[in-house]
């Protein structure tokens, strides 16, 4: 978890591919945005082209209309003859009242065959009106006639405008509707992805990965989920193996240590042993103890991590802290350090391992005492902070740099020369125990000022 947040911080700072995390967008949002933009672009294009298209369609329609009217007129003529329309010299002309359409038949001397449609202006009752006119010539009893069927351009463009307006309303409506349906559908489509993301977010360890497949009808998500499950499974097996190996190696190491220890102790108990030999043997024993302590620590960490410890105790945190203070008070007094207890609240923790929790606090308090010079203070306090119980262990010791802080909980960290002796694994144990109990540890430290370790207990403990 700590590693993750560190990575997040780095990404916030330096970004990925030149983008900081804050500049990144969710897939869902991106799809919706693209969706909207593409709709707007296509609509825009359509609106640009629409007048031309409508005009074309309109003219075609009008021309068809004109041809149809011509056919009707010709049919009428062949039914009732030309006489009712044309008498001797006169010509026939008919307008509807609003002058939107007209039909005229006149005799013509021209012998050309005419059959075309044109746009012309006619002056009717002192009004100049643009018409779309079909000219058609035909012959009855050696007489040529010219038939004109016209439709006013005003009425044509009016229809065009109407169509355009209707189209605009319709398009706007369609855009809104499809934008919402698309967004909803994308969201629905991406739900499995969100679920997979959720599954990944919640876990701190591959063994905790939820193996229940995410419900989806999208094969890609199905494959992704499957692949993740497999990866997690493999990782888990590797982790498990690593833990087993640690446990086994530790066990294997204990036997030779045991042999050496017994041998050295037997030598030390010989009555005729010379004092300087005895000192050397005791030195060797010390070194051996160091090795033993190291192996035991590794074993303990591996055991905790592979859940070999039970969490069945419920107890008050204060009792543990008081016990630790009592244990370490003589040491603090001897080093002239004030070990003070400023516990205000208390928490009864459930489903925990008391001896592990004891070790965790003990290691940290002990570490603080080791790093605090004479006349200094180590203060232990417990309070509720935003519903979460928090134990703070503060010292007025030499503090740490950021670099030291980041390596604090790693096993066998690189230590600088003045960090004292010790295997340096005590804090790694504390961290492992905290993780095991889902306790969050945070450290604040100022070089030469002091360090505070905060243990934040989960809300429901």
């Amino acid at each position: 978890m700590a590693r993750n947040s560190q990575r997040d911080r780095l990404q916030d700072q330096y970004g990925i591919n030149g983008l900081t995390r804050r500049q990144m967008l969710k897939l869902n949002f991106k799809l919706s945005l693209f969706n909207l933009l593409s709709k707007l672009v296509f609509t825009g294009l359509f609106l640009l082209l629409m007048p031309y298209i409508i005009e074309r369609i309109n003219l075609k329609q009008v021309d068809n209309d004109l041809v149809q009217k011509r056919e009707q007129v010709l049919a009428l003529i062949s039914d009732i003859g030309i006489e009712p329309f044309i008498t001797s010299d006169s010509s026939f002309g008919s307008f509807n009242i609003l002058k939107e359409e007209f039909i005229s038949i006149e005799k013509t001397s021209s012998v050309e065959d005419l059959n075309f449609i044109e746009v012309t202006t006619r002056i009717i009752e002192d009004e100049e009106i643009g018409y779309r006119v079909l000219n058609y010539s035909f012959k009855i009893e050696d007489q040529n006639y010219l038939l004109e069927v016209g439709k006013s351009l005003v009425s044509i463009s009016r229809t065009g405008r109407n169509i355009r307006n209707l189209m605009l309303v319709f398009l706007a409506f369609i855009i809104v509707i499809t934008f919402f349906t698309d967004t909803l559908y994308t969201r629905l489509l991406l739900t499995p992805l969100e679920r997979i993301k959720g599954k990944l977010k919640m876990i701190s360890d591959p063994s905790l990965f939820d193996k229940v497949p995410v419900k989806t009808s999208t094969s890609d998500f199905y494959r992704l989920d499957n692949a993740l499950c497999e990866v997690m499974d493999n990782l888990n097996q590797l982790f498990q193996k690593e833990k087993e190996i640690t446990v086994n190696i530790s066990h294997e190491l204990m036997t030779p240590i045991s042999v050496l220890r017994s041998k050295l102790e037997n030598i030390l108990m010989k009555e005729d042993i010379k004092p300087d030999t005895a000192t050397k043997v005791e030195d060797s024993l010390k070194t051996l103890h160091r090795l033993q302590s190291l192996v035991s620590s590794l074993l303990m960490i591996a055991r905790i991590e592979s859940n070999q410890y039970l969490r069945e105790d419920s107890f008050f945190i204060n009792d543990v802290l008081k016990e630790i203070i009592k244990e370490l008070e003589p040491i603090a007094e001897d080093a002239n350090i004030k070990l003070r207890n400023n516990i205000k609240d208390d928490l009864k923790i459930k489903e925990a391992n008391r001896s592990l929790i004891f070790s965790m606090f003990y290691n940290v308090v002990n570490n603080s005492l080791k790093n605090t010079p004479s006349e200094g203070n180590v203060l232990i306090s417990g309070t509720f902070n935003q519903k979460k119980f928090t134990v703070n262990i503060s010292d007025t010791g030499r503090g740490m740099t950021e670099m030291q802080k980041s390596l604090l909980f790693s096993r066998f960290r690189i230590r600088d020369k003045n960090s004292g002796e010790g295997t340096g694994i005590g804090l790694a144990i504390a961290k492992t125990i905290a993780d095991f109990h889902k306790i969050e540890i945070s450290v604040t430290s100022e070089p030469e000022e002091g360090t505070t370790f905060s243990f934040i207990f989960p809300e429901n403990s």
Partner: protein, 225 residues
């Protein structure tokens, strides 16, 4: 007392035997489970030190078997697998005590003695140290009629030294006995020194305590000579 050491690591078995012989025990060694099983069937032992990690035998099975054949014996389980379940299982099957490897020989001895005292119902007698008297039963140290005010740890420390009087105990042996397997990564810790210093201060308020000796470079000893 007659002790059978069941341990597949030969050199460890012989070291344990050497030590216990020097403490006037009669020792027998079995390096395999089969050998142990045979020996337990034939001989009568007061104690069996049983390593659970035998290559040819499940240590717990051997314990079950031995309990029926040799019910007089007391069992102390030794194991490199310090897992809690092993301990609980062993004690449930009737083992009298449990020691995780690596252990101090002195610790083994004091466990054997403690089991023996329990078994033979030996009441702890008071022990005299100079002008002081240690009342083991009531966990009190008395000097010329008045109690010496000791903390629990200080009393434990003194008692362990008394139980192993005339032997030099190293700081680590003392630490291990009193704090058990609490892991302290500061292996050079001066815990014991601090406690001995406090202990001496308290003792000296009542009477001289020259019987509590510091053995340079090694540790501490209570000398009764």
């Amino acid at each position: 007392m007659n002790i059978l050491i069941v341990e597949d690591e030969k050199s460890l078995a012989s070291e344990i035997a050497e030590f216990l012989r020097s403490e006037n025990f009669l020792c027998d060694i079995a390096n395999t489970g089969t050998e142990a099983s045979e020996k337990i069937a034939i001989n009568l032992y007061d104690f069996v030190l049983l390593d659970l990690g035998l290559p040819d035998y499940n240590g717990l099975d051997l314990l079950k078997e031995a309990r029926t054949n040799n019910s007089e014996a007391s069992f102390i389980i030794i194991t490199a697998r310090g897992a809690v379940e092993d301990k609980v299982k062993g004690l449930n099957l009737g083992a009298d005590d449990y020691l995780a490897k690596p252990f101090a020989l002195i610790e083994l001895l004091s466990r054997i003695n403690a089991v023996a005292r329990r078994k033979f119902n030996v009441t702890n007698t008071d022990i005299t140290l100079g002008d002081f008297t240690m009342q083991v039963q009531s966990r009190k140290l008395v000097c010329k009629g008045s109690d010496v005010d000791l903390t629990k740890k200080e009393f434990d420390l003194l008692q362990y030294l008394v139980l192993n009087k005339d032997k030099v105990l190293t700081r680590h042996q003392l630490y291990e006995h009193i704090w058990g397997n609490l892991l302290d990564d500061q292996y050079d810790s001066n815990f014991i020194d601090v406690h001995i210093k406090n202990l001496r201060k308290k003792l000296n308020l009542h009477a001289p305590s020259q019987w509590l000796e510091t053995v340079r470079g090694i540790g501490y000893r209570i000398s009764t000579e």
